[in-house]
Subunit: 191 residues, 4 copies
Amino acid sequence: MARPKSEDKRNAILAAATRVFADEGLAAATARIAKQAGVADGTLFTYFSSKDELLNQLYLQLKAELREVMMADYPRDAALEARVRHVWQRYVAWGAANAHKRKTMAQLGMSERVSAESRAQGSAGFADITALQAEGLGTGPLCDVQPTYFGALMGALADVTMEFMAREPASADRYRDAGFAVFWNGITTKT
Amino acid sequence: MARPKSEDKRNAILAAATRVFADEGLAAATARIAKQAGVADGTLFTYFSSKDELLNQLYLQLKAELREVMMADYPRDAALEARVRHVWQRYVAWGAANAHKRKTMAQLGMSERVSAESRAQGSAGFADITALQAEGLGTGPLCDVQPTYFGALMGALADVTMEFMAREPASADRYRDAGFAVFWNGITTKT
Amino acid sequence: MARPKSEDKRNAILAAATRVFADEGLAAATARIAKQAGVADGTLFTYFSSKDELLNQLYLQLKAELREVMMADYPRDAALEARVRHVWQRYVAWGAANAHKRKTMAQLGMSERVSAESRAQGSAGFADITALQAEGLGTGPLCDVQPTYFGALMGALADVTMEFMAREPASADRYRDAGFAVFWNGITTKT
Amino acid sequence: MARPKSEDKRNAILAAATRVFADEGLAAATARIAKQAGVADGTLFTYFSSKDELLNQLYLQLKAELREVMMADYPRDAALEARVRHVWQRYVAWGAANAHKRKTMAQLGMSERVSAESRAQGSAGFADITALQAEGLGTGPLCDVQPTYFGALMGALADVTMEFMAREPASADRYRDAGFAVFWNGITTKT
DNA sequence: AATGAATGAGAATTCATTCAT
DNA sequence: AATGAATGAATTCTCATTCAT
């Protein structure tokens, strides 16, 4: 090995891909990504064996980043609502602040080019969140469905919410809070 | 007119496109669609001037179909909850029964190839639904956000729900009802 | 024969072809010509069995028209110069007044799609002109080359001249006369 | 640089294009040119961004070559006639010896796909020739028309002449000299 | 005869991937 | 490892021509 693969270059490619995919869709040419990343066309393929591989790795990276963001400072001992709110706020703030990443993530989430394996692996780290469901929602609407439904629901609500936040930045906070209210009211039982 | 343009052929192409796009994504080749529709490659372009045109027309058709499905037998005079439930049930049943259409619709909804104009036109018929928000939710979480947020929220929840229904058909009804409960609880104020 | 082929339609197609080819080149679609002519796409092919056939017929028609123009009022008994001048003036005036025809003619003249047979037939009527060479140029530069060279030379000079006349209409007469002077001086011997 | 863009390949493509265009017209497929040049279909587009670009570059190359041929050994201090004759002989000899180039050049000259800019650039090097007009022709037929008319006239006469030379090689020299005589007599004043 | 929809063989590009340097 | 030229399969769209009406 004359030169070891550079972590910097790998990251540059992933960052460029995030931007380019957000702007042009997943059909964007790898050459465009390479140029944006400041590497040669061929170099992209020494870091990612194929475009599909790049797509999957990018998916995993974004998922991992999102997880970190959501879990940083997680108030493990707070009340259920506080913890759910924490996760929601972080998620939504991240999406609002990182439009590229959010858009690309949304596209990757829908693409058949992201493998089932990547999806499984990408969801793995969200155990804590999935666990929230089991905890206090035993008598709520979600009492007898798959725990993953909980996460999917939150993701869907958050996506819509972020979309509106991006569209009307002046009302961003209102959407953030309305979204949370809908979510929280929705999953808990009325008394 | 020598041979009038055949409505059947147009529909065959749209139906084929729905299937092919669901299976292969919007990047699927027009040639594949033509073959599936039983027409020559070139014929597709006598009905749709370009692939983008096909995409937009398909979007409009699916939206129109969905609207009809949701609005058939609409209990205009029933209580708010009954009406919202009606819409939800129809939506979700349609999606569960028409996986192709649902998947393609989801992709079209995200694609930048569907024009703003098509989106506007496609949403036009959903006024009744958007109006639901104004009606009884004056004090709920959605009291001071755009009315379109209501529809987007419902769409997002329904999509997730249909996805799980398709994945676990045995529990389809459970998801359908859980989804509605989350939605209804979410948008109404707890007392 | 339910309806006899209409000479009008045939002429409309030829006229449309002249305009369209002048504007878009010989690669123009037959459908465009049909539309311009006010007939259906297929109708063009009942008058001309193929696009090549149309090209060849158009070539012949334009050649014939040009011949008529040049030969009308031909001063058969005038001096050589007067006759050559007559031909030149008519040619050049026709080209200046019929830009479409001139341009299309120029393209047809260069196209390999116009058959040798059409060329032969198209040139047939120009015997009088070719004959001019034999007459008085026995001692000039053209004394021992093919007589057709004479006609080709005049055509080439006239084409260039018409091009400049079209480009600078204000100086049209100047070019017309300069062109003739060059031609006449060129083919006659200096004394 | 990994593999520098090869000047050889670029030239092979231009040479192939010259041959193919001469044989089949400018409508010839780029794939045919690529095959003739011994490169892959796509390679043509790494050297020329589009077919139009190829057409324009080819035009410029042929013009440049023609200029070099005409200007090599130019007898700058000889009499006017000697200089005009030099140019004529070189032009005509080049065309007779390079039928492909001559035919393709003629087609490019007429094509609306060659831009005004290319034409301007292509003509730039012919200043010496255009200058010939000003010099001794002040009292001839061309005394009060655009100087470019001079060059166009020579080009037209030379084209016709080369055509006949190609058609009757045995009389090539006769046509060459007859053509020059017509040209020279034509542009100079009779005394 | 007239119409214009239907056909399918190309045409010019594009692009993921390979490979010589 | 890095580069970017080379590759050729695949794609969208065009168009001369045919043929059902």
